[in-house]
C-alpha cells in the first residue's frame, strides 16, 4: 500500500521497535486517524514555567554514569539550576514521593541486571506501591549493544516510573559504549524542558539505533599460563598482534566474543538430527547452522526468558530455570528441523566479555595483551569453565581473533608528575602492567606504588620478572605483596595497605591517585575500608571525616576503581 521509500522507512521504524513502542505507535497512529492530535501534543499543559530545582541521580558500575551525571550537574548549575546530585545507593527512598523533577542516569549490567549501586532503588520501585503523581522524570540509559538486553535497567526504570504515576518529560535515551554524543543530546533536551516547563504528555521515545562497533582483528602470538605447575589457578597472558591499528589507552579494555566448544556444537547437531551445513537467517544475516552455533549464539546457561520461548516452541512444560541448550534438546526434544530453526531464532547472541588491556601502546607497539583467569566453577558437582576464559586459554598462537576496544574514561593515568598507588591483586594487575609500562616508556616522573597479591609466591606471582625489572630500574618505587596461602595466616592486599598506612597517607595527602582493580567482592570493599582506616588513623580524622575525605578523593577522580 505504501510507496517503496515510505515502506522502507516504515519498516525501518518498526523493525527495531520494542513491544511498548509498537503499542505506543499503534495508539499514536490511531489518534492521528481520529484526528485528535498532532503527536507533540499539548493537552492543556500549563505555559512554560522555568524550573530551577532538580534531582539528578545515577546508578553506576564502572563510573561512566557517575561521570556523566557529575558533568551534567556542573553544567546545570552554571545555568542557575539547583541540582541535587546523588548516587542511587545513597538516595533516601522516602524522598521519591516528594520529588518533582527527577532525572536518572543508569547503566545496565551483563545480563540485564541493574548496577550494584542501583539495586536498592530498583527493587524499591518495583516492590512498593508508591504514588508518584508529582514526579516528572527522564531516564538516560547506558549500555552495550553487544549484550542481548541492551539498556534493560534504563528501560525498566523508565516504564515503571510511568506505571507508578510519574510523567515522562524527556524520552528515554539509550546509549551504546560510545555514549558521549547521545548523552549530550539527551541532556540538552532536559535543559530544554527545564527552561520551558514541562509537557505532561508522552514524547516519542528516542531509540538509539544499534551501530556496528568498530571491530578489529588480530593474531594470537603468545598464550602462556603464568601460574606455575602446582598452582590452583590458571591465568593466561595472551598477546594479540593487531592488524591495522587499534587505538587504545592504558585503562581501556577489549571486548571479545567467545566461540562455543566444537564438541558441544556437534552434540547439539546430533541430538537435534540436523545437518550443520544447512543455512538459516539470523538477525538479517545468513549463516550455516554450524557457524551460528559455534560463533554467534549463546547456547550455555540460557536465561529463563529464552527457556520460556523454547517451551512455547516445543509445546512442553519446562520449569523456570537456567539450562544449557544441549540439555534442553535432550530432555525436551524438538519435533523436527523446523522447530529447531525456530529455536535458533529465539536464541540470543553470545555476549562479549571485557578484559582489561595489560599492554601499553607506548611500550608494546602494535600488540594488545590481556590477562585472563580461567574461571572454574561447579554446577551440580560438575566442573565447568567460564565460556570466554576457556575459549581464550585454549587459543593456539597463530589463531585469529576479533575484538573491539572498550574505553574506560574513568580509569586513566593522571598527569605524568602525579604519584599513583595501584592495588591490583590477581588479574587486577592487568591495567597496572599497562600503566607501569606506559609510564616507563614515556618517562613519567610521578612515583608508582604497586600492591599485588595472589595465593602463592612461587606459583602465582603474575609478571614477577617484569615487576623485578621495573623495581630495579626505579619505575616502581614500591611494591607490596600479599600471598594468602604461603602461611597459616592469610595476608591480603588490605593488610599490606594498613601496614604501610603512614607512607600511604603521605602519598595520598601529597596529591597521589589511588587505583583499585580486581574482584568487587570482597577485595575492593576490603581495600576501601583499609584506605578509610589509613585516612582516619594517619590523617587524624573521625570516621565521618574520613568518609568525607574518601568521597572527596572520588569526586576529584583520585580514587578510581575498575572492579568486577
Amino acid at each position: 500500500m505504501l510507496a517503496e521509500p515510505k515502506l522502507k522507512t516504515f519498516q525501518e521504524l518498526i523493525t527495531n521497535a520494542s513491544r511498548e513502542e509498537l503499542i505506543w505507535m499503534n495508539g499514536f497512529l490511531a489518534g492521528l486517524v481520529l484526528g485528535e492530535s498532532n503527536g507533540h501534543s499539548s493537552s492543556g499543559i500549563p505555559a512554560a514555567v522555568k524550573v530551577n530545582r532538580i534531582s539528578l541521580v545515577f546508578g553506576t558500575e564502572t563510573g561512566n554514569s557517575k561521570k556523566l551525571a557529575t558533568d551534567f550537574a556542573a553544567k546545570a548549575k552554571k545555568t542557575g539550576v539547583n541540582v541535587k546530585l546523588t548516587s542511587l545507593d545513597q538516595y533516601r527512598l522516602s524522598d521519591l514521593a516528594r520529588e518533582e523533577y527527577f532525572f536518572i542516569v543508569v547503566s545496565t549490567q551483563g545480563d540485564g541486571e541493574p548496577p550494584g549501586t542501583a539495586k536498592k532503588f530498583y527493587d524499591h520501585i518495583f516492590r512498593e506501591k508508591v504514588q508518584l503523581n508529582k514526579l516528572k522524570y527522564g531516564v538516560l540509559a547506558l549500555g552495550d549493544t553487544a549484550y542481548p538486553l541492551f539498556c534493560k535497567t534504563g528501560e525498566d526504570l523508565d516504564r515503571q516510573l510511568q506505571i507508578l504515576g510519574g510523567t515522562r518529560v524527556v524520552p528515554l535515551q539509550k546509549c551504546d559504549t560510545d555514549y558521549a554524543g547521545d548523552a549530550g543530546a539527551w541532556f540538552d533536551q532536559v535543559m530544554n524542558v527545564l527552561s520551558q516547563g514541562s509537557s505532561n504528555d508522552v514524547v516519542l521515545p528516542v531509540i538509539k539505533k544499534s551501530k556496528h562497533k568498530k571491530n578489529h582483528s588480530g593474531t594470537i602470538i603468545t598464550n602462556m599460563n603464568l601460574n606455575d605447575r602446582g598452582s590452583g589457578k590458571q591465568t593466561h597472558h595472551i598477546e594479540i598482534e593487531v592488524e591495522g591499528e587499534a587505538e587504545y589507552q592504558p585503562g581501556d579494555s577489549i571486548g571479545i566474543v567467545p566461540n562455543n566448544r566444537k564438541e558441544i556444537v556437534s552434540a547439539i547437531l546430533a541430538v537435534a538430527g540436523v545437518d550443520g551445513t544447512g543455512t538459516v537467517e539470523y538477525r538479517d544475516e545468513r549463516h550455516t547452522i554450524s557457524d551460528l552455533l559455534t560463533g554467534k549464539l549463546n547456547i550455555v546457561h540460557l536465561p529463563e526468558r529464552v527457556v520460556k520461548q523454547y517451551a512455547a516452541i516445543v509445546k512442553q512444560e519446562i520449569p523456570d530455570t537456567r539450562i544449557d541448550l544441549l540439555d534442553l534438546l535432550r530432555i525436551y526434544p524438538v519435533k523436527d528441523e523446523i522447530q529447531f530453526e525456530k529455536v535458533l531464532e529465539v536464541l540470543e547472541p553470545i555476549p562479549p566479555r571485557l578484559y582489561s588491556i595489560s599492554s601499553s601502546p607506548e611500550a608494546h607497539g602494535n600488540e594488545i595483551h590481556i590477562t585472563v583467569a580461567k574461571d572454574r566453577f561447579n554446577i551440580n558437582k560438575e566442573e565447568k569453565f567460564g565460556l570466554c576464559s576457556d575459549f581464550l586459554s585454549g587459543l593456539e598462537p597463530g589463531t585469529s581473533v576479533e575484538f573491539y576496544v572498550h574505553r574506560n574514561l574513568n580509569f586513566k593515568l593522571p598527569a605524568p608528575d602525579k604519584d599513583i598507588i595501584m592495588v591490583g591483586p590477581g588479574t587486577g594487575i592487568a591495567p597496572f602492567r599497562s600503566f607501569i609500562a606506559e609510564r616507563d616508556a614515556t618517562g613519567a616522573t610521578g612515583r608508582n606504588w604497586l600492591f599485588f597479591g595472589d595465593r602463592k609466591f612461587t606459583s602465582d606471582f603474575l609478571y614477577q620478572t617484569e615487576i623485578q625489572n621495573w623495581t630495579q630500574t626505579g619505575v616502581l618505587s614500591k611494591v607490596s605483596l600479599a600471598f594468602s596461602r604461603d602461611h597459616e595466616w592469610k595476608t591480603y592486599v588490605q593488610h599490606r595497605i594498613l601496614e604501610f598506612s603512614k607512607d600511604l597517607w603521605s602519598w595520598i595527602s601529597g596529591g597521589g591517585y589511588i587505583y583499585v582493580c580486581g574482584a568487587r567482592e570482597p577485595m575492593s570493599r576490603d581495600v576501601e575500608l583499609a584506605i578509610l582506616q589509613v585516612i582516619s588513623r594517619q590523617g587524624g580524622k573521625s570516621d565521618q571525616e574520613a568518609l568525607a575525605c574518601l568521597e572527596q578523593l572520588k569526586e576529584e577522580g583520585r580514587y578510581l576503581t575498575d572492579v568486577y
Binding site: M224, N225, L226, N227, D228, H237, F457, T458, S459, F461, L462, Y463, Q464, T465, E466, I467, Q468, T471, V479, S480, L481, D486, H487
Partner: protein
C-alpha cells in the same frame, strides 16, 4: 701467609661481613624475590644453608615470567650423627611443613633438607632451635660436621670416642652471634659484650676453604677417614683409649680440566694422646691451615694443597713449633673393613641396634616402602635413638632387649626389614651425591640415576656370579667428590648430562685412590665396559681378591 695480594672474592665478602651478617637481614626482607643477594649467598653457607634452584624448571618458569624456583637447603650440625627420638619427631614435622618432605641423610652423618623457601627459613630454624638443633657452620669455610664411626658395637669405649665429635665441633664453632640474631631474633650484643664475639681461631677471614674432621674406630673405616682434612684413628690399647693417630691432608675434590687439582688421601704424621692435648692439636692444625692456606684460588685452598706446598715435614715442624712439643710416632692398628653392619646387632652391654639400608640416604614414603612413616612410628615409641652413618644409612640405636620386638614389628610392617635384606651387595654399599636437580655444581645426575644404573649392573653381576660381591660403587654429578667417588672400587664422576668418567682400582677399605680408566661414557658405554671388566674379573681373579685390587694391577696401575 700466602697470596695475600690477590684475594678471592669470597675473602672480601667474609672480611666485610661483620661476623657473617652481611646483608642477610635485608635479603630476607626483599619480598620480590625468593633469592638472597649475591654476597649473602656466600655467607649463608656459614649458617648451614645453600641457595639452590630447581634447575629442571628454569626455562619453563622464565617463559611464565617467573624467576627461577629458588629455595634453600638446610644442613644440620650433628656431631657424630646422633639424634634422640624426640628430635626425630620434630624433624619429621619440620620436613613436612617447610621442605620437599624428603629427609636426606648425608655422607657426613647429618641431615639435610631441601626446598625451603626464603620465607620459611626462619620458622624452620626456630623449630630446630626448640629441639636443641642448629645448622651453624654446617657449610662454609669452617670446620664442618665432625664424623665418627657410627656403630656402638664397634668398641666398648665407642661412647668415649664418640664424645670427641661433639667436643671438637664445639671447640671449632665460630664465635659470632650472627646466627642467633638473624634467624632466631636475638638482640645484638651490647658494645661492652662485644668481646664475646672475638674469634681467635677464625679471626676475620675464617678458613680458606672447608675443613673436615673424621674419627675412625678400627677395624672399620666406615668414615673414610683418609678422605678428610684431618683424620683421627682411635688407638685402643688394653681396652682403653690411648689416643689417636693423626692423619692430615685428605680430600677428594677436583676440578675438571684443572691439572693442579687432585684427590688425596690423608698422610699419617704421628700419634697424640687423648684429652685436652688432642683438642689443642686440632685447634693448632686448623690455625696453620688458616694462616698458610691459599686465599687467592679456592680450587687450591684445601689443607691437602697447603700440606703439599709446604711439604709434610715442614708442616709437621710448624705444627710442633706452635704446639711446643713433638708428635709421637703413629701407633699400629688395622682396618679390615669399610661398611655398615646391616640388620640387628648387639653391643657389649647387650643393647640392640638395627641398621637400615636407605638408598642414597633419602628418607621418604614411596610405593615400595613407607620408610618415613615407619621411622616416625619408631620414634614415637621413644625407645630408640637415631644414628646416621657416613654411608647415608640409619642405625636405630641403644634399644633395650624388651623393646626390640616392638621395633622389629614396626619395621616389618612397613617392609623395612625386607628392603634392607633384599638390597643387593653393590646397592647397599653404593653412594651418590644430590646432584641434579638441586645442586648448583652438578654437571650430571647422581642420586636420581644411580639406583637404575645399579639395577642394570645387577644383571651383569648375576651373569658372572658376582651378586654377593660387595664392590663399592660411588657416583657424583661433578668432580667435587661429595660422595667420595675417588675412594671407590668403581667411581663415576659426571662430566656432562648423561656422561661420566669411569674410575677403577680404589681399594675396599678407603686406603688407596682409584684412577681414571675411561672418559665421557654414556650408559650404553658404561654397561659395555662393566660387562667386559667383570667378565675378566670373574675368570681371572685370585681367591678373595677384591675387584678394586684386581682392577688396580690389571688395568689402571700400568697406565
Amino acid at each position: 701467609m700466602a697470596e695475600k695480594n690477590n684475594l678471592s672474592p669470597v675473602e672480601r665478602i667474609k672480611k666485610e661481613s661483620r661476623g657473617l651478617r652481611g646483608t642477610l637481614k635485608e635479603s630476607l626482607k626483599d619480598e620480590l624475590t625468593g633469592a638472597i643477594r649475591e654476597d649473602d649467598q656466600a655467607l649463608i653457607k656459614f649458617h648451614g644453608m645453600y641457595q639452590q634452584d630447581d634447575r629442571d624448571r628454569r626455562e619453563e618458569r622464565a617463559s611464565k615470567k617467573l624467576e627461577w624456583l629458588y629455595s634453600f637447603m638446610i644442613r644440620l650440625r650433628l656431631p657424630g650423627g646422633f639424634m634422640t627420638p624426640e628430635q626425630w619427631i620434630g624433624l619429621h614435622h619440620i620436613a613436612g611443613e617447610h621442605t620437599t618432605g624428603v629427609i636426606k641423610i648425608t655422607t657426613r652423618q647429618t641431615i639435610q633438607m631441601h626446598g625451603i623457601l626464603k620465607s620459611h627459613i626462619k620458622p624452620t630454624l626456630k623449630s630446630f632451635n626448640t629441639l636443641h638443633l642448629d645448622s651453624i657452620a654446617a657449610c662454609g669455610d669452617v670446620n664442618r660436621n665432625v664424623i665418627c664411626s657410627a656403630h656402638p658395637k664397634q668398641s666398648p669405649i665407642h661412647a668415649e670416642i664418640f664424645d670427641y665429635a661433639a667436643r671438637i665441633s664445639a671447640m671449632a664453632l665460630p664465635k659470632t652471634r650472627a646466627y642467633y640474631e638473624i634467624w632466631l631474633d636475638e638482640q645484638p650484643l651490647q658494645a661492652e659484650e662485644k668481646q664475646k664475639e672475638e674469634d681467635p681461631l677464625y679471626q676475620e677471614l675464617y678458613l680458606p676453604r672447608k675443613f673436615k674432621v673424621a674419627i675412625a674406630i678400627p677395624p672399620n673405616n666406615d668414615v673414610d677417614v683418609f678422605a678428610n682434612d684431618l683424620g683421627l684413628i682411635a688407638i685402643v690399647e688394653n681396652g682403653r683409649l690411648a689416643g689417636f693417630n693423626i692423619a692430615v691432608g685428605g680430600g677428594l675434590g677436583t676440578t675438571h680440566g684443572n691439572s693442579q687439582t687432585y684427590p688425596r688421601l690423608a698422610t699419617e704424621i704421628g700419634f697424640c694422646e687423648e684429652g685436652d692435648v688432642l683438642l689443642k692439636l686440632i685447634y693448632t692444625i686448623i690455625g696453620i691451615q688458616r694462616d698458610f692456606g691459599n686465599r687467592s684460588d679456592r680450587k687450591l685452598a684445601r689443607l691437602k694443597y697447603t700440606l703439599d706446598k709446604m711439604g709434610v715435614e715442614n708442616f709437621k715442624t710448624e705444627l710442633e713449633k706452635r704446639l711446643g712439643f713433638n708428635l709421637r710416632v703413629p701407633r699400629a692398628y688395622r682396618f679390615t673393613e669399610r661398611r655398615d653392619y646391616y640388620g640387628w646387632q648387639q653391643n657389649h652391654e647387650g643393647k640392640w641396634y638395627y641398621t637400615l639400608f636407605i638408598e642414597n640416604g633419602r628418607v621418604r614414603d614411596d610405593e615400595g616402602t613407607s620408610l618415613k612413616t615407619a621411622l616416625f612410628e619408631v620414634a614415637q615409641t621413644g625407645t630408640a635413638n637415631f644414628r646416621f652413618t657416613t654411608n647415608q644409612n640409619l642405625i636405630l640405636s641403644d634399644i633395650n632387649a624388651k623393646d626390640k620386638a616392638i621395633i622389629d614389628t614396626i619395621l616389618d610392617k612397613y617392609g623395612i626389614i625386607d628392603n634392607t635384606r633384599n638390597a643387593g651387595a653393590v646397592r647397599r654399599n653404593a653412594l651418590a651425591c644430590v646432584a641434579l636437580n638441586t645442586c648448583p655444581l652438578a654437571l650430571a645426575e647422581a642420586q636420581r640415576y644411580l639406583p637404575s644404573l645399579i639395577t642394570k649392573m645387577e644383571g651383569i653381576l648375576e651373569k658372572y656370579g658376582l651378586q654377593e660381591d660387595e664392590i663399592s660403587v660411588r657416583m657424583t654429578g661433578c668432580p667435587n667428590g661429595c660422595a667420595r667417588p675417588f675412594a671407590a672400587e668403581i667411581g663415576f664422576v659426571g662430566t656432562a648430562y648423561g656422561f661420566y668418567n669411569l674410575y677403577l682400582g680404589g681399594d675396599r677399605l678407603g686406603t688407596r685412590l682409584n684412577k681414571i680408566y675411561k672418559e665421557n661414557l654414556d650408559e650404553v658405554a658404561i654397561l659395555k665396559e662393566l660387562d667386559e671388566l667383570l667378565a675378566v674379573y670373574s675368570r681371572e681373579r685370585k681367591e678373595n681378591e677384591s675387584f678394586g685390587d684386581f682392577a688396580n694391577h690389571i688395568w689402571v696401575n700400568e697406565k
